[in-house]
């Protein structure tokens, strides 16, 4: 494939990261964190975020070290063909699975909350198709899509956060470390796993106008995402209290249910919230799917990633349909999340260390020149 056009600005890269990270996981996030540390949920979220925040720095540094190569390409340059092939295949497989479970999770939310008699297969395939069709576009459009939907992600979260202030009670957030938090570490890992989509920065860097801004973009993108996470957890726990939150499968959605717009414009917000949330889930799906597809293309050295979009669809759909019920689904998601932390954080860190030891580095020239041109 030819060198992709370098058009993505730092703002677009940051927006891509944020909208990738905010997705269906947010609906259940307060439940996970409350289970970990009752009223310490915001702290768990913050720590989980910080773990991911630090954890993805090596990946970004790696990307900036090889500013014009994608993950598959530079991992080959670092550790050789076959070891890297296995590593990259793991990454790709992981993101295929992540795509599958994201769509399944949202499918479950939709059929439980809104479309109770629609088969879950239909809602899942619709989301997957939507993502698959959109992954056929190029990386620039990919970044545009994320940038465009970014406000749509901010508005509902901020709106519900602001409206729920009315019913919030600070007592519910105290003590901030929780009453005898037992599963703190587990909660932190679960939260950090929600940020695994940040891996998409590896795809974005080779198309950035100024790859040297990648760290900055990563910083802001993840920071906004993390702030929204903390805000959602704070809002949910302060309104419901830790105990009530642990009774709710999707506390964030319930929060939308417990708020109404002033003057009864909309009597309840849950269906509307879920509708708007479709876009954020779509961007998350798009990212992980796009990552899968483009890295596959690099792995098999094809010229176009388009054909993989539809090719992967049956596999992803099949994986999505594997869990038998909603409890099993969440159990699987947690396990997959843990594995994902190894794939997306530990593995790139290892790669970076090896790259530094072996002093490997990608050619910088064209990137620098592009930077100067604008």
């Amino acid at each position: 494939m030819e060198q992709p056009p370098r058009q993505i600005t730092a703002i677009q890269a940051a927006a891509t990261l944020t909208s990738t990270n905010i997705g269906v996981g947010v609906l259940a996030l307060p439940l996970f964190t409350v289970q970990a540390a009752n009223s310490g949920a915001p702290l768990v979220t913050l720590l989980g975020f910080l773990l991911a925040f630090v954890g993805f720095v090596p990946l970004v540094l790696l990307g900036m070290r090889f500013p014009s190569q994608s993950f598959v390409q530079y991992s080959e340059a670092i550790i050789g063909k076959w070891p890297s092939w296995i590593g990259s295949a793991c990454v790709i497989a992981f993101f295929a699975v992540l795509t599958a479970f994201t769509s399944r999770e949202f499918g479950e939310v939709v059929i439980t909350a809104v479309l109770t008699r629609t088969p879950v297969e239909v809602t899942v395939i619709v989301m997957l198709l939507l993502a698959a069709i959109s992954t056929r576009k190029d990386i620039t459009t990919f970044a545009y899509i994320h940038h465009f939907y970014f406000p749509l992600l901010l508005v509902p979260v901020l709106l519900i956060g602001a409206l729920s202030l009315k019913n919030a009670d600070v007592i519910n957030l105290l003590p901030i470390w929780g009453n005898q938090p037992t599963f703190m570490l587990e909660g932190i890992l679960t939260t950090a796993a929600l940020f695994e989509g940040s891996f998409v920065i590896a795809v974005v860097i080779p198309a950035m106008k100024r790859p040297d801004y990648a760290l900055k973009a990563n910083f802001w993108g993840m920071l906004v995402g993390g702030a929204l996470y903390v805000m959602i957890v704070v809002a949910t726990v302060s309104v419901f209290g830790a105990e009530e939150t642990s009774n709710l499968l999707w506390p964030t959605l319930e929060l939308a249910k417990a708020t109404s717009l002033p003057a009864n414009v909309l009597e309840r917000l849950d269906a509307a919230f879920l509708a708007v949330w479709v876009t954020t889930v779509f961007t998350t799906l798009l990212s992980s799917y796009f990552l899968t597809v483009t890295e596959l293309q690099k792995l098999f050295r094809q010229r176009e990633h388009k054909m993989f979009s539809l090719f992967m669809l049956p596999f992803v759909f099949f994986i999505a349909m594997l869990p038998q019920n909603i409890s099993q689904m969440y159990a699987t998601i947690k396990i997959v999340g843990r594995i994902g932390l190894i794939v997306t954080i530990v593995y790139p860190t290892l790669l970076l260390v090896i790259a530094i030891i072996r002093n490997k580095r990608g050619e910088h020239a064209d990137a620098q020149q592009m930077g100067k041109n604008d």
Partner: protein, 544 residues
């Protein structure tokens, strides 16, 4: 005006497209006329003689040399032919009387000394001559001359310059383009009295040989854009170009998108404003609409009036227009989704009332809305086609009586009629007819999606539309610029219209050569406090 070569590699590519394409001229080739008038008459008659409006007139130049004049009587100005061609050629100038004129000087005497017309030239290729007659020129062939004199005597009746019918404004110029290209160019030129305005023309259409003018401002418009426009235009090989719309469909980037990627307008001031932003305008002879490229989505809800009124008010108006645009797209589908899927969203009293209104309607909300929508489209289309006097009456009959009757007959619920009426009216608030049409069309799939999945389906549909818009480009300019990718200068003129002095730069996404619109001095001037000359304090001091 410079002629541009077209379709290289074909025979006769030396001349303009029309002659090549004309079947009647195909076999003539490069044939030239001889000095024999009778032979020329025979050749031209052979090609054009079957037309009743073709006129051939024999006369004697200066009473000595036999000559013949050819023209289409329907396309020329008879008075000019009589006064400026026939008369001076018949009467020998006084200073030449009695002096013999040598055969080789005759041509220059006729062209340079006798002819009283500014657009006259000599031509010897037969194909060119016939092509000229077809375009309304008058040909004079003189015995002994190996070239004929071609004089432009074209005079086609035209309508007068009128108020633009579809883009009316309250504040702003009242002139609209007409069908004649030269008039249209004149309308542009007197607004842009700069040597930088470039008008390049070419002829497109094998049969129509329509003159197409590409206008841009040298030093502002990106030259790559001009080249690309000309390249795309010159690739068009079609028999007829009857309107600018024909060209639009050939030069757009995405041919199957419902969204127009080329803007059309009948307002010269709008074209000038676009030229000044760094765009290229394309005018076609015979079409009162100019095309403007590249086009971005935001242009479609902007109107020239936005810039003539005060910015605060027009920003609000523009926002209202934008809301109407969005409403015309999603309103019916939202209604269907809420009624059929999520009635818990609306207030209880309202929900129960709506249920009451719908109680007698036999169809589900989707079908009901689709039916009313389709009949609304039919009504709308019928109103356009009908003569103006009847049209107004019909629209009232259509909306009031049919709507009322549909409700009374239990065919539709009153709220549906209200929703559809609002939507239809909302779609007329969009200044650009073509984008309103696109959104009206996209409304239907959205309604169907709403019928299948409720709000979820509406969102899926909207995401598909938005993704399409994000991938769409017009001459490489992303369609949603300056929103995505963001451009600070462009954002000042997106949803709100910033004050003119604040929008000091041309939009960045068009990559104009010269970026400055408002000079920094003016900016400084505006920011400094104004002189209060007639302030009572100042004036009374002066009087003392």
């Amino acid at each position: 005006m410079r002629r541009i070569r077209q379709r290289n590699g074909k025979p006769n590519s030396e001349s303009t497209g029309a002659e090549v394409a004309d079947q009647g001229l195909a076999n003539i080739g490069d044939e030239r006329i001889s000095g024999n008038v009778e032979e020329t008459i025979a050749r031209i008659r052979e090609k054009l003689g079957e037309n009743d409006d073709f006129t051939m007139r024999r006369f004697q130049v200066f009473g000595r040399y036999p000559a013949a004049m050819f023209y289409f009587s329907s396309m020329i100005d008879q008075a000019i032919v009589n006064r400026d061609i026939l008369k001076p050629l018949m009467y020998m100038p006084a200073y030449l009387e009695d002096k013999p004129i040598e055969q080789d000087r005759l041509k220059s005497v006729l062209l340079d000394e006798s002819l009283h017309h500014s657009e006259g030239k000599s031509e010897d290729r037969l194909a060119k001559l016939i092509g000229g007659i077809v375009r309304g020129q008058t040909i004079v062939a003189v015995e002994g001359l190996d070239a004929a004199i071609v004089v432009n005597t074209r005079d086609v009746d035209k309508r007068s310059i009128d108020t633009p019918a579809t883009e009316q404004v309250i504040r702003g110029p009242r002139e609209g383009f007409i069908e004649i290209l030269n008039t249209n160019i004149a309308l542009l030129r007197y607004r842009l009295q700069t040597s930088d305005l470039r008008v390049r023309s070419m002829e497109i259409g094998r049969k129509t040989a329509s003159k197409v003018a590409v206008c841009y401002i040298d030093g502002v418009t990106n030259s790559d854009l001009v080249k690309e426009v000309q390249k795309r235009l010159s690739n068009i090989d079609i028999d007829a170009v009857l309107d600018a719309g024909y060209l639009e469909q050939f030069i757009e980037d995405n041919h199957i998108s419902p969204f127009p990627q080329v803007q059309y307008t009948e307002r010269p001031d709008k074209v000038v404003a676009n030229l000044l932003e760094g765009r290229v305008a394309i005018l076609v002879d015979g079409s009162p609409l100019a095309l403007v490229v590249p086009t971005v989505f935001s242009q479609f809800y902007q109107s020239v009036e936005d810039y003539t009124e005060r910015f605060l008010l027009m920003s609000a108006v523009r926002l209202a227009r934008f809301v109407a645009l969005i409403f015309s797209l999603v309103f019916p589908s939202l209604y269907v989704a809420i009624i059929s899927y999520n009635p818990e969203l609306i207030p209880t009293e309202f929900a129960v009332a709506v249920a009451g209104g719908r109680a007698g309607v036999p169809f589900p909300a989707v079908i009901e809305v689709l039916l009313i929508e389709i009949s609304m489209e039919v009504l709308r289309e019928a109103t356009i086609r009908l003569p103006q006097q009847v049209g107004g009456a019909l629209s009232i009959v259509g909306v009031l009586v049919v709507g009322q009757a549909a409700v009374a007959a239990g065919f539709a619920s009153p709220i549906t009629v209200v929703i559809i009426a609002l939507t239809t009216i909302g779609s007329f608030a969009t200044p650009a007819f073509n984008v309103a049409l696109a959104l009206r069309l996209l409304r239907f799939p959205l309604i169907i999606m709403a019928g299948i999945f409720g709000l979820y389906g509406v969102m899926i549909g909207l995401i598909l539309i938005a993704n399409h818009l994000l991938a769409l480009q017009s001459f490489g300019v992303p369609y949603l610029s300056p929103l995505i990718p963001s451009d600070y200068q462009g954002l000042k003129d997106l949803l709100v219209r910033g004050p003119l002095w604040w929008m000091s730069k041309r939009p960045e996404f068009l990559y104009p050569r010269d970026k400055t619109r408002v000079s920094p001095d003016t900016m400084a001037q505006i920011k400094s406090p104004p002189d209060k000359v007639l302030n009572p304090a100042n004036q009374s001091e002066k009087e003392r």
